[in-house]
């Protein structure tokens, strides 16, 4: 809050410092001599001016074309800003018609011997490259770039795809000093604009509508204009789901078209409509009703099973074994479930629609669920692009079970990280659709126990841990394909200097069951003998040593992934010849609104000590406002787990030695 106020405040001041001329070519000496950005002194470069105008051009032969003019002036402050001297423009070439980038003009401005000198980009230094079947990249890098240079370029993109206006990015990793966006659209196309409301930056938009004549055509032209100054750079932070979810942008949603002599064509709808249109397009009916190819296998698989959950579990693990995921996303089948079944390979839609079909064939209430992966972001309005992936679900009396058979380590009801984002849209057999939450509703648990005794100045111990839910899944993701020998090596390596033996890992391939890991260990890690005393950090290698939250401030929400309960227990036998001198104090800490608890216990009981740390996280996502308390909470965990137990040598040892001396 205070930061944005400050920026606003400063903005008023910087305004008056010097007035700039943003006509192409009118770069001033002041712009080139400026040493650092007036508002964000850390910026390596800044966009002094960004102009983007999108409009429709009509010609008798071609009809409408969508033209986008771009003009940018960029200041390079230092060497780390040199990347901004290379520009890449992507254009679509995958369809029947191609987009074209034309009219590139570019100059670099430097101060040479006190005089402003420009250097033109040579046409021969513009490079075009087919980056894939669908896109062409037009690239150029500016000549004579030095620290301080100002570069300026303009170009046009001509697109035959008139029904789609690209997203307008309004914020970058460097600040924008002045932004001008203009869009004019003939009345035949009706768009709605959407801002990203997760970005704190707001834009005023000026709208206008006037009559227009182009050849024989006469129509109303609707135009929109944004002028905005001082847009701050995006901040980079860890534990963010997808940074673009927080960048300022406008997206244009085509609602309908009504061209002369043709009927209204509707494009936009609500989520219900989006869901339906996807349903129809991908021929879900066809894919789900086609059962012949698997009937015999499924009949055999579930013969005699009546429990619906058991049936579902069998089918789910059968699909996981039968068909491997080719690592392609999508809600549209690639080869079709039938072929995928035969070949043993398919994309997300092939696999999860097949799963849905089989579950339904087994008389279970199964439905596909459309979702958006984290790198597809969270959509701003109902659009098909808002989804890019499909999973399957089973509705039971007491709730809904989600399944993604593309992930071999996911138990029934668990989703891989790529499928845990925002919410999903279930498409029921009766044609209705609804939202379903994708984040797990239950805690995943991690619990470990160590029994330690002292042996010749070292520690001998037995360690065991049990993981369930997503903790177990994480473990499987790392080790699933390892042989027993490789697993032993992995544990040995992880333990470094600590000697381990009798390593046992349980249930690795029994997905859904708890993972168990046990071993004996031998070490002096965490133990110090200084003078007559022994000092022990009881959690040894299970100690959390660092607070992952180091930064003082936070801008975006913190994604903690899943709700979790983490219990670590250590049982210690007081070493022979020693007595307990001090034990860390027991304590309990809470996050506000019961979002988390940390309970630390240390007790002595007849020569035995029990030290325990229980951390419970009750929600997967924290807001930026909660950052401070989250950081403090974590700090307490680190503090308490690192406190030391002191044992002192028993006095009677000395007496024993003395009496020996007497003899």
């Amino acid at each position: 809050m205070s930061r944005s106020l400050l920026i606003l405040f400063l903005a008023l001041f910087s305004q008056v410092s010097f007035s700039q001329d943003f006509k192409f070519g009118k770069v001033s000496e002041e712009e080139v001599t400026e040493k650092q950005h007036p508002l964000e002194e850390e910026a390596n470069a800044a966009i002094l001016y960004k102009y983007r105008r999108t409009y429709y051009e009509y010609s008798q032969h071609i009809g409408f074309q969508l033209i986008t003019e771009v003009h940018e002036r960029v200041k390079i402050y230092n060497k780390d800003g040199f990347d901004w001297a290379t520009k890449e423009v992507r254009s679509y070439i995958g369809g029947s018609d191609e987009e074209d980038v034309r009219g590139i003009k570019a100059y670099t401005y430097n101060l040479v011997d006190g005089k402003l000198v420009d250097e033109k980009l040579d046409k021969d230094d513009v490079i075009e490259e087919e980056s894939s079947k669908f896109f062409k990249t037009t690239k150029f890098t500016m000549p004579a770039v030095k620290e301080g240079s100002v570069i300026e370029y303009k170009y046009e993109i001509v697109s035959p795809y008139v029904t789609s206006i690209d997203d307008f990015k309004l914020q970058y990793s460097i600040p924008i000093n002045k932004l001008e966006v203009k869009v004019s659209i003939p009345e035949y196309l009706v768009y709605r604009k959407h801002y990203n409301l997760r970005s704190p930056i707001r834009f005023d938009i000026k709208e206008d509508s006037r009559r227009f004549k182009r050849g024989e055509l006469e129509f109303r032209m609707n135009s929109y204009e944004i002028v905005k100054e001082n847009i701050p750079a995006m901040v980079e932070e860890p534990y963010v789901d997808y940074i673009d979810n927080y960048a300022a942008c406008i997206k244009w949603e085509l609602q309908y078209t009504k061209f002369p002599q043709s009927t209204v064509e509707n494009y936009s709808t609500d989520w219900e409509g989006v869901t339906k249109s996807i349903y129809n397009d991908i021929g879900l009916d066809k894919d789900i009703n086609q059962t012949r190819y698997f009937e015999d296998d499924i009949d055999a698989l579930i013969a005699g099973v009546s429990n619906p959950l058991e049936k579902a579990a069998r089918i789910y693990s059968f699909v996981k074994k039968k068909v491997k995921w080719d690592e392609y996303y999508g809600f549209v089948p690639d080869k079709g479930p039938k072929k995928a079944y035969k070949e043993g390979l398919g994309n997300t839609a092939d696999i999860n629609l097949m799963l849905t079909a089989m579950l339904r064939y087994a008389k279970l209430n199964a439905s596909p669920v459309l979702i958006s992966t984290p790198d597809n972001g969270v959509p701003l309005f109902p659009t098909r692009d808002g989804f890019n992936y499909v999973i399957s679900s089973l509705e039971l009396e007491d709730g809904i079970l989600l399944m993604d058979a593309t992930d071999v380590t996911a138990a029934i009801g668990e989703l891989p990280k790529r499928a845990r984002n925002w919410q999903g849209r279930i498409l029921r057999e009766n044609g209705s659709s609804d939202w379903v939450p994708l984040y797990p509703q239950a805690h995943s648990s991690y619990s470990s126990r160590m029994n330690i005794k002292f042996e010749d100045g070292q520690l001998d111990g037995i360690f065991s841990k049990t993981l369930n839910g997503l903790h177990a899944k994480k473990y499987r993701n790392q080790h699933f394909s390892k042989t027993e020998e490789e697993m032993n090596e992995a544990v040995t390596e992880r333990m470094g200097d600590i000697e381990v033996e009798e390593i046992q890992v349980k249930n690795m391939h029994d997905v859904g069951a708890d993972i168990g890991e046990n071993y004996r260990f031998h070490t002096n890690y965490g133990l110090e003998q200084i003078g007559e005393n022994l000092y022990l950090k009881p959690f040894l290698f299970e100690t959390i040593k660092e607070n992952p939250f180091k930064s003082k401030t936070r801008t975006y929400p913190i994604f903690y992934d899943f709700m979790s309960a983490e219990q670590k227990q250590v049982n210690i036998m007081v070493p022979e010849g020693f007595e307990l001198v001090s034990l860390p104090e027991s304590a309990t800490y809470h996050l506000p609104e019961n979002a988390g608890t940390f309970k630390f216990t240390a007790v002595e009981n007849g020569g035995y000590l029990r030290v325990e740390s229980i951390v419970v996280w009750n929600k997967p996502v924290f807001t930026a406002a909660e950052y401070e308390s989250l950081k403090l909470f974590y700090d307490k965990i680190v503090e308490k787990q690192n406190e030391t137990i002191v044992f002192g040598k028993l006095a009677q040892d000395d007496t024993a030695e003395l009496s020996e001396g007497d003899e």
Binding site: T86, E129, K146, I530, N642
Partner: protein, 630 residues
């Protein structure tokens, strides 16, 4: 003709996994069942490479060994590519025709443009193990890069059979050299002008930490023609002198025209400099101020520098272009310097014993009659004059001179050169929290690891230290200052910061770790069957001086004893003393450490591990301080 026959003979094989000898499955992510490469040199600008390669893959890490891919560009083309996939029983499950191979441009993002493309098999295995049989034929004009034979291609891959044949119907003079063949089943059937080698049954090699590079101990055959062709240019060379001469004449010479205005500028810039070194320093600075690194490589542009005049106009270029430009500017002031080809990155020589186009980078050599030569890294805008760092230090490079090439070694940084000196005062409070004032100087290779902090933003600097010193809790910085002495190549950091719980609580006692700033800790796993030597690429030394001021009301209870560790791998000493001033106690720690450069036989591994363990132990020493009972 011959080559075709060779392949068809193998077409009928059964690639069932059961047929693999168990000794080859151990530790293997993949087994190369057979790899036949037949190279036919029709003429120096007409080479055909035929590959028949069968690989069984056991797990995901082995996928890349299928290596069913070819690179191509303007001067080479792929005539044929096909792959057949077999399941573990050796049954064919899929056949991929050449049109179904995936095609994309092949270069890293830092290269702006290159015409090099790759066509590869894009296959997702349904289950492991599986086997890919791959056939290809590629034609190229560039005989200068005749493929070598490197049958054991990496770690964790076994070889059942691998063969290499070079057909040379035109009897073009040929050279080859065998490396590390001993101890492997390798047969040959060479004639004067043709080569044929077979390797059989080589079990997988496991990676071992701190071991010499794979190339230095597995078989390799290096092959070169005395007459060759590169992107439209013919060449003749059978030794480095001739190779250098050819490179100079065909690729480097006459690229050094510079506009008169620039020469004038450089002349003015250097007019009052009295020595060659001083002039060169100023010219290097001029290049650093006026250019940046951008790679554009296509056609011969991948091998020949861009014209100095173009670099002058555009202000950018790749390593070749920027080196040539600097050389041209030096020449304009009568200073002689040489374009030098090197392998950048981990230490790797241009092979002194085998002449063949090598290297992946270019630097500039300025001869110095009064001492060691000067070396310039022309792609960096920030490196000091005559600084190579660990990117190109201590290795053979090909110095390209008008009268021929020669191999010379770049400078080596010794353990004493690679020094970091730290001085730090630390004030503690009763909760174990601290305020520290630190000064550190870095020289040699460590200089290169830190000096770029100077150009970083405040935020990035803080992030660097937060990460570097992540064992400290809740750090707050009150001062971060740098002094980059580029002329003497020394980087000084002065940092004032505070943090929480340096000393951990144990009742009324505090445990105080005495190595305030620690070097990165290595932990070495147990390996009772170490096979290869322990190799340390560079020596290093550290000299640290820490003074801890105890909080009011605390006294020293226990101080660890002084320790010295002397071994052949390095040494370490720690001296701990205490003093009292105005009723306040302080602890003074002097720590010195040296790690040697060198190679020790495999049997020494446990001993070396013990050394590292002892170093870690000394780094973990703690003092106990206790609150006085008042």
């Amino acid at each position: 003709m011959l080559a075709c026959c060779t392949f068809s003979a193998f077409g009928q094989q059964n690639y069932s996994v059961e047929k693999i000898d168990p000794s080859l499955i151990k530790n293997a992510d993949a087994v190369i069942r057979e790899n036949q490469v037949v190279i036919e040199v029709e003429a120096i600008d007409e080479v055909t490479i035929k590959t028949f390669r069968v690989v069984t893959v056991f797990n995901e890490s082995g996928d890349s060994y299928t290596r069913a891919l070819e690179f191509y560009d303007e001067s080479s083309k792929i005539n044929e590519q096909e792959a057949i996939i077999y399941d573990s029983r050796g049954e064919e499950v899929d056949k991929i025709k050449s049109r179904d191979f995936k095609d994309q441009s092949n270069f890293d993002s830092f290269i702006l443009f290159s015409d090099n493309r790759v066509s590869y098999l894009n296959y997702t295995p349904r289950q492991y193990p599986y086997t890919v049989a791959y056939t290809s034929e590629v034609e190229t004009n560039n005989s200068v890069f005749l493929p070598d034979w490197f049958p054991m291609e990496g770690y964790d891959v076994s070889v059942e059979k691998s063969s290499y044949r070079l057909l040379n119907p035109g009897n073009i003079p040929l050279r080859s050299i065998e490396r590390n063949f001993q101890g492997f089943e390798i047969a040959n059937n060479n004639t004067k002008h043709e080569l044929e080698y077979h390797l059989t049954n080589a079990p997988a090699v496991e990676y071992e930490i701190l071991s010499p590079s794979l190339k230095s101990f597995v078989p390799r055959l290096l092959v070169a023609l005395d007459k060759f062709h590169l992107e439209g240019v013919d060449g003749v060379a059978s030794n480095w002198e001739e190779m250098g001469k050819w490179m100079y004449d065909e690729l480097v010479a006459e690229h050094d025209q510079i506009p008169a205005a620039t020469i004038q500028k450089v002349t003015n810039l250097t007019s009052d400099a009295s020595t060659i070194e001083e002039k060169a320093r100023r010219i290097y600075q001029y290049v650093q101020d006026n250019t940046r690194y951008i790679a554009v490589m296509y056609g011969i542009g991948g091998w020949e520098p861009a014209l100095a005049a173009d670099v002058d106009r555009l202000g950018y270029g790749d390593c070749k272009a920027l080196t040539n430009y600097t050389m041209a500017l030096l020449k304009s002031q009568g200073i002689e310097s040489y374009y030098s080809v090197v392998y950048g990155g981990e230490k790797r020589n241009i092979d002194p014993e085998f002449t063949k186009m090598q290297g992946n980078h270019v630097i500039l050599n300025i001869p110095n009659e009064k001492g060691e030569d000067f070396w310039l890294e022309c792609t960096s805008q920030e490196d000091p004059f005559n600084y190579l760092g660990d990117f190109t230090d201590d290795r053979y490079v090909l110095r390209v001179k008008p009268d021929g090439g020669e191999l010379v070694k770049t400078r080596r940084y010794s353990e004493d050169d690679n020094l970091q000196k730290t001085k730090c005062e630390i004030e503690l409070d009763g909760d174990g929290n601290f305020t520290a004032s630190l000064e550190r100087s870095s020289f040699g290779v460590p200089y290169g690891e830190v000096y770029r902090l100077e150009s970083k933003t405040e935020k990035d600097r803080k992030e660097y230290y937060l990460d570097e010193w992540s064992r400290f809790q809740n750090i707050t910085f009150s001062k971060i200052d740098f002094e980059n002495r580029r002329d003497t190549i020394e980087f000084r950091e002065s940092i004032d910061f505070s943090g929480a719980r340096l000393a951990t609580k144990a009742g009324k006692r505090l445990l105080l770790p005495l190595s305030f700033i620690q070097q990165e800790q290595v932990s070495l796993g147990k390996n009772e069957d170490r096979k290869r030597p322990v190799k340390l690429l560079r020596g290093r030394s550290y000299e640290d001086d820490f003074v801890f001021m105890l909080p009011e009301g605390f006294q020293i209870e226990t101080l660890p004893e002084n320790k010295i560790l002397l071994t052949e791998y390095g040494q370490m000493s720690i001296e701990i003393s205490s003093s009292e001033n105005d009723g306040k106690e302080s602890i003074h720690v002097k720590r010195k450490m040296k790690i040697r450069e060198g190679e020790w036989e495999a049997e020494k591994y446990p001993d070396f591990r013990k050394f590292i363990y002892n170093v870690n132990h000394l780094n973990g020493l703690k003092a106990v301080i206790v609150q006085s009972n008042t």
